[in-house]
Symmetry: C2
Subunit: 515 residues, 2 copies
């Protein structure tokens, strides 16, 4: 099980303490981000694309968007040529798209371990874990409020997951830490318990600034100003509302050249029309306005076209996942993003199920497949999401993370080298033979097929004797194994101390707040 | 729950007994077969297609295929210009493809209820249930040998499943019936317990003939000769071997103008090379040879390009499902089939799991998605498959059947009528509003979103109070509800009596055989 077995890292140069830290540290194998060798699946024809793009501009010009409690934003919009009426911003046809054109189509997010850097955009897909749940669930403890201990555990699991490229952000809400201080502990965990890239805080502009400052300690201040070291999630308050908290955080990141995902948060039927074309129109209008504003703050700042999409169950009002309408919107929004030349964030291991059961897996597999085939470049929630995002599930985290290997395999496409063609094998085996022992199989079998690290392929009798365990039970064992064998990646003790001191100072400067 | 609630059918004309039967009969809603309004996903570029097609012809010409114990077939091949050496048939480049060109690209399979007719080919997708398992499983009874009572139950569930277009064939092996007689009971069940189209027996040429004869009773002999009323599964004994039993059955069907699926049975790494391109080459060679032979038997007989694809787990030897390699092969084979102008059979709710758990659902969802996006025209095993095809699962049957609704929704694609564009709704709601009550939502919500008939969307507290049931538990309830409310479709009692008499006569003519 190569993705969890720790291997000793060779000690490199550096001070004595750093060398000792390096010597005792281990590294877990992480796959390189996905570089697709398959086409994108596209559901909108040219007519549909033109109608939706035209309509989105009409919405911006005639209905407009709202920037709440943000005089600075209104001033920037007015100066750019928009019609600003109270907090409503009406954007003349073509202006938003023109402003968006300065955003880069590809950017590199640096990790403190350069082998873990990710390139976001193009034909790539970067996978990041679940974000945001206030609850966690595991087989033994059931469903309960998430704590900082859970948060640390999920960062560790993410670090050890071979197919996960990114450590994410709020892998769960550590509800035992004051709300105005938890971003500090969360960042400290990502920075010290993992060496994969991570996300910054967005719940207050000052917390975004803390994120930038902590990155200054970890990467060096100059490095941060010259490179992207965070990709952070800025949700639009759909429909068409940009609140000051999220925009304030985005302004901090843009000014510091850090990446944001500008992401309409859509539960179709509630925050957007019940039709696919109508939803795509609104998503595009919101992204155009949001990214244009991002570029008004700083031309050339890296930014991602985001689309979080669920449907609503009209009987219960619950958000639903893995549905055909969400897939169509996700495929379509990818086309719109590519026509803007922007990286695209969507999809995830979405599900509404309360348990990591068959429902969860159907819904998640539907969503993961659409993410890969729809040309998504950054997939948040790629593992661990449960119960409509209310719960981070330990078992589902490792179940989904195993499935992410399938996306890597599928993205490889079909090779046609002489070895791939296997004509010698077909001639050698001939009618009625079998390929198990032939030379081509012997030479290729080790890397020929994706292999699960979790699922059961045993003979029925063996499986039955071993307790007839279902996937959740197998995953629970895996979770325990991983957390028991986790070892921290090497970090310069001086850097860790400085981060720790920063956290302590900032915490001491504020009273606790729990709402 | 419109797909299970029985509705009274209006009585139509006919004799007194027929009228009485009609009056007491009910009908369950069945969706029309899928007509895709989305493109196919294609993984092979022109270079790869040309290499694979060239190589397949090379295999046919140089390696050849084997027709076992079938002098008649060898004679037909010799006359057609192939090089026949003992049982090995080497086919000159181009000959097989030319012979295949007389097969129709689309055909209609008739059901005894004409509303259930299916059109196989083009952009359509017809969904049929699991085929072949010797075992069944349900929550209460566990895993056990399948019986005729199970068989009847699965036919009933298939009949009542809204998104299933086809009644299938061996939905499980009724192991309590002698092996030489069970085809009679199976056909009788499909013909009387359902009014959807079905498959014929292929386990002996004489059983294929029985299937044709029973169809003569059900549809009328002339109708059968002039129309396709069965689509039957002819597996190739991969690699490149055509055995006399399967070919004998195919000959019967072709002579009677009935459709066959000519289907290589591939567990990659065992029956085909470990590479995707190599497997596609072999699949194409086998299909070319098999369909060419079908057309030699009867020019113009309807036939489907089949590809059953699994990978092998090189550690345990177990077949594996939902893997990226199987998906790439399935996508690629679809391209090869379309270039031959033939309907394509592949995919299904494949899984290796022993239980209808998360593993089963991940694997099945991966396979169902690839089937829809890969342009499959006939999908066998679309619901109910478990444990690598050893088990027909009651719960998974209804779980998968519910997911098939998603394929219908996704296939619709994106409409851009004025109503779809929803510009009035966006203007009406405006920034910061919500769409739940707006006029467009009110007018469209009923049909806007696919809705599950099984999965849980309830609030956590409600779900918890109701017993915190997982998908399997919900499905078990659904199975019981369906079997409790099943009602037989109307059938002319004289026809049913004649079928019953045929079965009794045929059974009386043979001793029991159990191997």
């Amino acid at each position: 099980m190569s993705d969890t077995a720790p291997t000793q890292r060779r000690a490199r140069g550096g001070g004595g303490a750093a060398r000792r830290a390096e010597r005792s540290a281990v590294s877990f194998e992480t796959a390189r981000f996905i570089e697709r060798n398959i086409p994108n699946f596209e559901v909108l024809n040219d007519e549909a694309l033109e109608i939706i793009e035209y309509n989105a501009e009409t919405v911006l010009q005639e209905v407009g968007v709202k920037f709440v409690n943000n005089p600075g934003a209104l001033e920037l919009w007015r100066a750019a040529g928009a019609d600003v009426d109270d907090e409503r911003v009406r954007i003349p046809r073509g202006l938003a798209r023109q402003l968006c054109s300065t955003a880069p189509s590809v950017y590199t997010q640096h990790a403190r371990n350069p082998e873990r850097n990710v390139v976001v955009g193009g034909r790539n897909l970067v996978l990041a874990p679940v974000y945001g749940p206030p609850f966690v669930r595991d087989v033994d403890g059931g469903r309960r409020y998430a704590t900082m201990a859970d948060f640390n555990n999920f960062v560790k699991l993410g670090y050890m997951s071979k197919w996960l490229h990114h450590s994410g952000g709020t892998v769960c809400e550590p509800t035992d830490i004051p709300v105005n201080k938890r971003h500090l502990d969360m960042l400290f965990a990502h920075m010290t318990l993992s060496d994969k890239p991570f996300m910054g805080s967005v719940t207050e502009p000052s917390r975004a600034q803390d994120s930038v400052d902590m990155c200054g300690i970890l990467f060096g201040e100059d490095f941060v100003q010259q490179n992207t070291v965070m990709t952070s999630l800025i949700n639009v308050n759909s429909p068409m509302t940009f609140d000051d908290v999220m925009m304030g955080a985005m302004e901090v990141y843009a000014k510091n050249n850090q990446a944001c995902i500008l992401s309409p948060f859509i539960v179709g039927g509630a925050m957007a029309p019940v039709s696919v074309a109508g939803t795509l129109t609104q998503v595009l209008a919101e992204v155009l306005a949001g990214i244009a504003y991002n570029q008004l703050v700083r031309k050339g700042a890296p930014v991602i076209f985001g689309a979080f999409v669920a449907s609503i169950d009209m009987n219960s009002g619950a958000p639903t996942f893995g549905t055909p309408e969400a897939s169509l919107i996700t495929y379509g929004a990818g086309q719109l993003a590519r026509r803007m030349g922007l990286p695209y964030r969507s999809a995830g291991a979405f599900c509404g199920s309360k348990l990591p059961d068959a429902q969860a897996a159907y819904e998640s597999a539907n969503s993961l497949n659409m993410g890969l085939l729809g040309g998504v470049n950054f997939m948040l929630h790629a593992c661990g999401w449960l119960e409509g995002g209310l719960v981070s599930s330990y078992e589902k985290f490792v179940m989904d993370a195993d499935q992410l290997g399938i996306l890597h395999g599928l993205a490889k496409g079909v090779g046609v080298t002489e070895n791939d063609q296997a004509m010698d094998a077909i001639a050698e085996v001939g009618p009625g033979g079998h390929y198990l022992g032939c030379a081509h199989t012997q030479a290729n079998f080790k890397n020929a097929f994706w292999r699960t690290n979790l699922l059961d392929y045993k003979p029925f009798e063996t499986w039955d004797e071993e307790g007839a365990r279902d996937t959740q039970a197998l995953a629970a064992i895996k979770v325990r194994q991983m957390l028991d064998t986790y070892q921290k990646p090497a970090i310069d003790p001086a850097v860790e101390e400085a981060l720790s001191a920063f956290v302590a100072d900032r915490k001491a400067s504020m009273p606790d707040a729990f709402i």
